[in-house]
């Protein structure tokens, strides 16, 4: 029987640079609240290519509730929240919810292998922001950061840090928005 010695395992962690991802039990809990934007205002522009080389413009999504998530594969809470973002999308897309995950600064060769490790694997669009310009336009100061854009195109919620997107409390906030 093949047994991996703990010392060897340590070097696997180190060589692949995934040290930021020890056992999930050691990671801080994902939270589940969305903060209402005090004075809702028009969402900044967002027009980026997807991994399928299509272009998505948030301006064309008026009438829908759009969850905009800024992330990177090397960001531990970004990785941890990704499955719940897909679950949210699966349960709410028929009701008019759109999820856009904006990757910051990475290429398809880096992103694609990671997506294969996510269960359930994301089926929502992954947008590519190669030069990170969207972070300054959306005033993002740390990853992950998520915004919710209402049907009228206004920013209505935001969340700094990793979230459990399919938590009932968070889901209810979004479902209420979808009913409006």
């Amino acid at each position: 029987m093949f047994v991996v010695h703990p010392d060897r395992l340590k070097w696997v962690w180190i060589l692949f640079g995934v040290w930021l991802l020890p056992a999930y039990a050691d990671q801080p809990p994902l939270t589940y609240g969305l903060t209402p934007v005090q004075q809702p205002h028009t969402a900044p522009a967002l027009r980026l290519p997807t991994m399928d080389d299509e272009t998505i413009d948030i301006e064309a999504l008026k009438g829908k509730v759009v969850v905009v998530n800024f992330w990177a594969t090397w960001c531990p809470p970004c990785r941890r929240e990704m499955p719940s973002l897909e679950r949210l999308y699966q349960t709410s897309k028929e009701k008019g919810l759109v999820v856009l995950a904006v990757n910051i600064g990475e290429d398809i060769d880096t992103i694609f292998p990671f997506l294969g490790t996510v269960d359930p694997s994301p089926s929502f669009p992954i947008l590519l922001d190669n030069d990170s310009h969207s972070l300054s336009e959306w005033k993002v100061r740390g990853l992950p950061t998520t915004f919710v854009v209402g049907p009228d195109g206004n920013l209505v919620y935001q969340a700094v840090g990793g979230r459990e997107f399919n938590h009932p409390a968070l889901l209810n906030q979004l479902l209420d928005l979808l009913k409006e």
């Binding site: 703990p6 692949f16 640079g17 801080p28 609240g33 740390g142």
Partner: protein, 176 residues
């Protein structure tokens, strides 16, 4: 008025059985603050894997690096902070953590790819932020600039509605 230090708050310490990295954590005034050692080999591996050359990675890996978490669990309002207001207090000095801007300036001499610069910049703990109550938080890398094995206190400072607060992690040790 400085409302409180966390002399009465509990501070926990844990050790990762795989890497041996030590973590320190405290909860104070509705805020969670923690530091986890990033071992020099871990810091080297992380940035070498993201395109930084070894010569650029080495000073960073030896700068006493921590994975830092600050979370607003139940503070009485929005937690606003700037890292330049924090103090790393050792026996012979008290100064803020090394700034992201300082590291980015050091990296200018290397011909780094845009992707490498972006990964470096955004993997650092935010230089400033505002966390809403109920769960806003960040996790990122923070450098103290101290030598290996140095023991220090981290004094984290933040404001809530204009009132200053602080939390202290005591007897934190730099990785060997």
């Amino acid at each position: 008025m400085l409302l409180m230090s966390n002399t009465a708050s509990a501070q926990s310490q844990t050790v990762d059985p795989t890497s041996g990295a030590v973590s320190w954590e405290t909860q104070i005034h509705g805020v969670t603050l923690s530091l986890t050692q990033i071992l020099p080999d871990q810091a080297r591996a992380f940035y070498l894997n993201r395109g930084l050359p070894a010569v650029a990675t080495e000073p960073y890996a030896k700068a006493c690096v921590y994975m830092t978490i600050l979370r607003n669990d139940s503070a009485p309002g929005v937690v606003q902070f700037r890292l330049e207001d924090w103090s790393v207090v050792s026996t012979d000095q008290s100064r803020p953590p090394l700034s992201v801007e300082e590291w980015l300036k050091r990296l200018e001499e290397y011909d780094l790819t845009q992707a490498a610069m972006i990964a470096f910049r955004w993997a650092q703990f935010p230089p400033e932020h505002a966390y809403q109550p109920g769960g806003d938080w960040n996790q990122g890398m923070l450098t103290t600039g101290l030598e290996a094995d140095t023991v220090f206190n981290l004094v984290a400072r933040w404001d809530v509605a204009g009132e200053p607060y602080q939390g202290v992690l005591r007897n934190v040790r730099c990785a060997p």
